[in-house]
Symmetry: C2
Subunit: 343 residues, 2 copies
Amino acid sequence: MTTNSANSRFHVALDAMGGDHGPPATVPGAIQALRKYPDLQVTLVGDPEPLRAELARHDVGALPLAVAPSEGKITDDEHPISALRSKPRSSIAVATHLLRGGQADMVVSMGSTGASMATAVMGLGLMDGLERPCIGGNFLGLAPNTTVVDLGSNVDCRPSLLLSFAALGVAFSRRLLDIENPRVGLLSVGEEAAKGNRQVQESHALFTDSHLNFVGNVEGMDFFTDKADVIVCDGFVGNILMKFAQGLGSALGPYLHRQLAALLPAEQLAGIADALWNTTNRPRTMGGPLFGVNGLVMVGHGSSAAAGIAGAIDTGLQCHRMDLVEGFRQELAELRPTSAPDG
Amino acid sequence: MTTNSANSRFHVALDAMGGDHGPPATVPGAIQALRKYPDLQVTLVGDPEPLRAELARHDVGALPLAVAPSEGKITDDEHPISALRSKPRSSIAVATHLLRGGQADMVVSMGSTGASMATAVMGLGLMDGLERPCIGGNFLGLAPNTTVVDLGSNVDCRPSLLLSFAALGVAFSRRLLDIENPRVGLLSVGEEAAKGNRQVQESHALFTDSHLNFVGNVEGMDFFTDKADVIVCDGFVGNILMKFAQGLGSALGPYLHRQLAALLPAEQLAGIADALWNTTNRPRTMGGPLFGVNGLVMVGHGSSAAAGIAGAIDTGLQCHRMDLVEGFRQELAELRPTSAPDG
């Protein structure tokens, strides 16, 4: 494991106040991850009092766990940029500051995604050639090799922004999922180039002219048909789809229970419902990296429990090992010549 | 059963050429429906030769089944309006003509939805106050009381059009699902009024000022949470969601098979996978009415087999019994005063 910290451990700055549960989820999550990875080191960033209270409830022994004090947190209902100005010592701001200063190798936060994004853009900077960062990943256990961008940060996207997101998705697919030449599809309502809304029709031409391995439009069922490795949509559609899959997975549990109650013992039923929930609710258990910022920042679902925190750290370690951030940079650099206006 | 035909039977004009399979699906589908409903009468509209060939393969006995000759069909890859001009005697055109002339009470087609829509608009007319028709319905077996509009016909929608679609969805919810005062939600990426793309933000104000029972924004998981009875989105999002659910349902069959193979006999497994497919693939088995045209036109999935044709006729009979078309008219009429610019 290589790091940019002074010692040899990989150093996580964990926004310990972020998410719906705060320290009662983040502290045990950090402990789980530390027990799993001996080369890991975690700094819990948060209000000292609640952190100490939670730490007192665990036997942390000699685990490499430190506390960095911060003041308050930014919530989902605050406007990220103005909240960052009024709370410059918030947990996400301090955690990002540690990464920026080389005192950490990665930030992990279950707090407001908007705040994580704004802090990363202001503190770490956007990659060259990019207007905005995004979120992406293989969010469906039933389609584990399908990478989707954007999953929710950018609701109105110009075609050029969608093209940048596609390049970032390609980097993720290549580095994390080991797909050599990822096929890129534009999510639409029909295969033909003329099918789709104005945004997709305009993007189609731009994608065709790019260096990407563009396979054309794909449809809603193609998350499961192996037509494309990277599916590109704006964050409005991506966010709705991700939450729809989560809702459907949650509704399927009781449905299967009714179907199977007479056939299987309760314990097996519960195991099947759990597996089904996990396969449709991946973002709650594994988190995902911000795409396109100069540093490794993992974000996760606000409702994540301890296992979700540990899962996000786990995913982050994979991103680090595969040098995903450098992959993003390289893909964006390749995009530039062909996406120039005279291209 | 009341009808507007000369005799006392409810008269279906079936586009027998429509869909991926044509007569080998539509003819047995019609026969299934006729055996189920003694008061039904079906006119198969299509090219005489293939219809006769298919009819020869069945014992139709004294079933009230007639043939109306037409010439050719309009396919999915043709532009609906120009195809209607170049093929004025196509099966969908002749079927719609029968409805317009009072010789049929309902049109059923598994052919190009665009062509069914264009024919209905030109032949039957749009309802007052509406710019375009749409498709809607309760497309998820797991959310049987949630009506969604638009499911795919209109990809770029102005807020005023979404408001009309909402009113049509309310009529469907009230008449077909017996919900007295349906709650209307706008599909977005967060509950707050400020969350969403430009289209949703602008629509939010218009919906708030309308007479609708508007409950605000809903999210992807809210198809399953009973927050709203009618969920409104544009046809781009609706079509992607519907196909995504179908794909997910199809992928879940093999997934469950792997999970359960060691626990249950093959026959029970197959039954569970079938039930799951049906609950996520409803549009292939029940069809749905066009919303907002002056007449009852049922459209269905092109891949529908005979059972899907019979299912669409079945759904159409329900729409007829509940006088859905009159319900659409009433809801649109209520919308007009409050949606005026000075309202």
